[in-house]
Symmetry: C2
Subunit: 509 residues, 2 copies
């Protein structure tokens, strides 16, 4: 072997071991949200802080910096930064440069705070008690501002420094522009739907759906679309999530409510979309760019694609509705497919993002994007969040949450320090729409396949075009490569008009 090949092997071995080490923390995080007894939180916070500190020590090891510099001197990760090997070097450099700017103390403190703050959030949400959560939010925001200041280039936007962790290369300004264009079309669409005079009977989704039957139905659907339960699990948690522990082990969660069918079901399809992505990553590339998810926007495109483009389609329910009627006889006997399909596509302003319809969903995201930018810039004090939330909600949705559990306490993200994360959800919707159009064109007649219960061709296409490529390309490059177009809002808007114009009797432009 040449010296460069030796160094490359050395780099890969180091990155793999670092990822293996970090994956231990993933399991502790999963457990914290699923099975950890209440009084174990303080110990868990110490465990995770120690692991975070040690992970950071590994990620900033000067030896790693030397190996990277030596490899780059031979051209790796620069000229050929989209080759399999080049992308390994490129992404290792990105992560290293970010990590060395952060003091270990800050990393540990953020980790410790995230654990305790999540527990406080769970309690505060249950009790609709923002004041109990406020000190934690203040601490989290202060730590994230410190992190952003450490990482941002001189004169750079603080928020962008956080966003870049989740969506490499993105900026708040660019995203704001795309979002503004989307909003311009969404607001009249929401109005047109409201003014259509049609209103599906969504109350049939809040009849009695016994939890045991829901659980079985959710697992069957996740399995049908391609989630492998020998390599993963579905458990319950206060906030649904998906956590890829490592090759062969992917954990997702949902939450059941016997009086609300869509929550657990579409939540499960959503998390299964994330899980199918994780399970489709190349295990041999674990810890390196080709075996790592591309970005959170791309991750979200996978979850939203299965949840909405597949899961809320007429074709999907042509296959699944007879099974649903068997599973939930009390709720669905005598309800025609068309009525059910209209109900799960009911568009109306609602409090909870994860249970909102496809049209208003993006307005929920824009609201969070706006508020978290203000929290990070310092324009909004955490103590003022409920007021700011409710004001913005009134402005965008024409109604004010009756309590903070329906408002600013609904999401887990800020309690965990995930600021700069929310816009990736809407980016995910845009990507999903563009990918789905391409898949439909290339595979021909996805609807027909779905109505026969065939979901594997779509899964295989995503495996090949997205999952197997990992982080070899940047998210914008990947989308362009797969769909032959740069990312825009057009495909999503086309999808929304195509789906909702017939349901609400709107004129199609």
């Amino acid at each position: 072997m040449t010296a460069a090949a030796d160094r490359y092997s050395d780099l890969v071995a180091t990155l793999r071991e670092n990822a293996l080490f970090a994956s231990c923390g993933n399991l502790l995080n999963w457990d914290e949200q699923t099975y950890m007894p209440h009084k174990g939180a303080a110990h868990r916070a110490e465990q995770l802080a120690l692991l975070a500190g040690l992970s950071h020590e590994r990620a900033t090891d000067p030896r790693l910096g030397e190996v990277l510099a030596a490899l780059e001197a031979t051209g790796a990760g620069r000229a050929d930064d989209e080759s399999a090997q080049g992308s390994v070097v490129r992404e290792a450099r990105r992560a290293y440069d970010r990590a060395v700017k952060l003091p270990r103390r800050l990393v540990e403190e953020m980790s410790r705070t995230a654990t305790l703050s999540q527990q406080a959030w769970i309690e505060a949400r249950k009790k609709q008690d923002f004041p109990a959560f406020r000190p934690w939010l203040e601490k989290v925001v202060a730590l994230k501002r410190e992190e952003a200041a450490a990482v941002a280039p001189s004169g750079g936007v603080l928020y962008d420094a956080l966003l870049d962790e989740y969506e490499p290369g993105a900026s708040a300004a660019e995203i704001a522009e795309v979002f503004a264009g989307l909003r311009r079309e969404l607001v009249p669409l929401v109005s047109a739907i409201r003014d259509s005079g049609r209103s599906p009977d969504a109350s049939l989704l809040t009849r009695n759906y016994p939890v045991a039957a829901q659980r079985k139905f959710c697992v069957a659907a996740a399995e049908a679309i391609g989630f492998d339960f020998e390599s993963g699990r579905l458990d319950e948690a206060a906030h649904p999530f998906c956590n890829g522990i490592g090759p062969g082990d992917c954990r997702m969660t949902t939450r059941y409510d016997a009086a609300h069918f869509p929550g657990a079901f579409f939540g499960t399809l959503h998390e299964a979309g994330h899980g199918i992505y994780e399970q489709g990553l190349d295990a041999a590339g674990f810890g390196t760019a080709p075996g790592t998810y591309c970005s959170l926007g791309i991750h979200e495109s996978q979850s939203r694609l299965w949840e909405n483009f597949v899961g809320r389609s007429q074709a999907f329910w042509t296959h699944f509705y007879p099974q649903a009627q068997v599973a939930f006889p009390e709720a669905l006997t005598g309800v025609p497919l068309a009525g059910f399909h209209a109900a799960i596509n009911d568009v109306r302003p609602s409090w909870i993002r994860v249970e909102s319809d496809e049209v208003t969903y993006n307005l929920h995201i824009m609201l969070r994007f706006e508020l978290e930018q203000a929290l990070i810039s310092g324009d909004l004090a955490p103590a003022e969040l409920p007021g700011a939330w409710n004001g913005a909600f009134q402005r965008d949705f024409g109604m004010t949450p009756a309590n903070d559990a329906l408002g600013c306490l609904q999401d887990i993200h800020w309690s965990m320090g995930l600021l700069g994360y929310f816009p990736t959800y809407t980016l995910g919707n845009l990507c999903a729409a563009q990918l789905f159009e391409s898949a439909d064109r290339e595979l021909g007649g996805l609807s027909e396949q779905f109505s026969r219960g065939e979901f594997r061709p779509l899964k295989a296409w995503l495996n090949e075009t997205i999952h197997r490529r990992g982080r070899q390309y940047s998210p914008s490059r990947l989308i362009e490569l797969v769909t032959s177009r740069p990312l825009s809002a057009e495909a999503l808007l086309r999808h929304l008009r195509n789906r909702f114009a017939p349901l609400y009797g709107l004129a199609q432009s």
Copy 2:
């Protein structure tokens, strides 16, 4: 602060952080046996091997050796090795001296092998397929022999080097002598019971006990004797165990069989006994001797005490039997308390150790003690284990297991590398008997208390005499301190005669 006080604080901080680090691996172990998806085993093995290697690196850090030497130079851990601080130094020295004799490669290999081997054991046991497990057993035994050779003093007994890890200061020769004395009394007791002509109707324990009702009843009983479910959990696993993750977080498992009441119930009481010990450790001493369990023999004394001395007593069921009849109406309606109590104290040779009666239980242990000594000395090849097991079982129990799942594949221990562990179970029985006599004398009338459902005085007594002392004393010293007598088989034999003579109409000597 003096330099010595500084060094002591330094030592404590290091030990605490090392224990915190090791506790992350505990959670991964727990998950492996409860919720890990099947295909996650290979990744889990790599995670645990890495953590084991890093734990070992911490445990053998030369800086730790220097701090210890400097503290010992001031007399700590030698002259006053039973003071709180002295015991910290004494036990840190013991662990350090053992760890530095082991190469990191061996530690990692043992860890990796244990994970994969456990998975192989689960499958092999299910399929009654010893040949599938044999290569794993061979690898485990080879690694444990290597470990013993590395740790044993020159000319020392290999087995003792393994035993010492679990029962500090014990030797196989001493244990064999105690066991021989016990066996001399047990064999005639088993014969007398067999020849008594009495045989309780144990079939009532294999009627229909719905699993959901068992689960509820088990949790209620564990709670009643003092297990805190806000600081712990009860889950299901192939082999029941208890794993103290850290302060505020203790996980136990059991396994349910709708056609066998005692398995899950006494298994739960047993694990709850371990759990109450873990929950009773001083959290402030976490990672150091005063906050660590004393030995596995003492640990087992706590589980066996609650399982048998409490849980199989007439008084316990005077309180719980009416609840049991409500929980299991199909099985227990019309069955008098006396018949139920006789059934759960049915003494007869049986295949499965964890489901065996109090009298024959120790014969199961002696058999394993004999075989594992032969495996470690090299007198018994792993391939010959089934034959050796069945031969010894025929000799001791007068019957031969129909398959290896009822024989040498029944226990998880050897698959995990736990060789030298089994004798601590019988040591635990001896300790439990002696402790229970002392508690009964000091607290006065435990039976009366149990029959009123009062278990807290006993728990408080154990908290104070055993749990809060952690590993400040050696196990033999602790027993002498609490019971004012050295450990012997007398109390256990008294207990067995007192319990079984009336049940089987034997003459009491």
